[in-house]
Symmetry: C2
Subunit: 211 residues, 2 copies
């Protein structure tokens, strides 16, 4: 029985390197939840193995800037000379169909979404320790030392912003973190503010008369 | 990894006959959760099969009124000439030990608890339909028709008060309802307001300096 039929916009965020992507992948493997992933657009080059339309929609800088002008992004950011953004187009439609839309975005982007979509659920994925985060950032090995250090610096600033989120989930194991996100989604659907309208339709005052 | 080490006070409530007791029993059969049940005190006579200290602590009317005077109840109520109350003594201790304390109480009692323990989680167990609730109240068969009708009347008033709770969980099946309550407990422990203090100890600003 669903008292809340609209989907939730779930914003998975957290510092660079915390493993947001692996948590999101684990989430989508869990049965019984109608999750959809909102694919971001970016102007950066695909990494080895990345496919257009799967990890990202890869578009040109000109196209991206045109979409900014048309206000077609729920959020966007520029980082290390590349744009990353969340197209607004499909999200509202998916939510109204009862799908849970998962965004996996950087901290700055999440704060932009908060401005535009107050109903969204903001989950900060935290590392078990700062050392763990540095280790992940340094061992990724696909970028230059300068970019790695820029990411560490960014992560230090991002880690301070957890207090702005609704929930903090520690990525100690990917399964634990994904389980907690699922629990959050289920609990949010049971919140009185989301369910009371349907509840009142189910139990109208006139039907409570003595039978 | 636990960012929130204090237990939660979970108030399971809802109209008479909705099946709060069976949801609570199912909850306690779920593995991996350190739940304790706060046993209520009552002045009513034990029903067949009820054991003192298991379903209720059965005490005399004089004892009950003495405990009211000493302010030893988190909440209490009188219904059909009998007192029912939740002793305050042990709850605070259990919460500080990290146990989740589950109260299963009437709607009036829940609203008293809200006054005294704002941090508690208030879950309204709702019937799938009003007819279902009437059916349960009438088929219990342990009380006179007058008492059954008094319960129906009370249930009609209680069903209106769901909006005062944090969550509404429909008892369509006991397993579904218990699953949702577990999800709520897990989600509440991840809430930023409960986790931020420990989080800040884990990631103090001085440790975020460049290493």
């Amino acid at each position: 029985m669903k008292l809340d039929e609209r989907g939730l916009l779930i914003v998975l965020s957290g510092p660079s390197g915390v493993g947001k992507g692996t948590v999101r992948e684990a989430l989508f493997k869990m049965p019984g939840h109608d999750l959809v992933y909102s694919i971001s657009m970016t102007t950066r080059q695909p990494r080895d193995g990345e496919v257009n339309g799967r990890e990202y929609l890869f578009i040109s800088r000109d196209e991206f800037q045109e979409r900014i002008r048309q206000n077609k992004f729920l959020e966007y950011a520029e980082f290390v000379n590349n744009y990353y953004g969340t197209p607004f187009d499909t999200i509202e439609q998916q939510l109204s169909e009862g799908k849970e839309v998962v965004l996996e975005i950087e901290v700055n982007g999440a704060l932009q979404v908060r401005e535009k979509m107050k109903e969204a659920i903001f989950i900060f994925i935290a590392p078990p320790t700062m050392e763990d985060l540095y280790h992940r950032l340094r061992s990724r090995g696909t970028e230059s030392p300068e970019i790695v250090e820029a990411r560490c610096e960014k992560a230090r600033r991002e880690i301070e912003l957890a207090y702005l989120y609704d929930y903090i989930v520690v990525n100690d194991t990917v399964e634990n973190a994904a389980d907690k996100v699922i629990a959050i989604i289920r609990a949010e659907h049971a919140k009185t503010e989301r369910t009371i309208a349907t509840y009142r339709k189910m139990f109208p005052k006139e039907n409570n008369e003595r039978k």
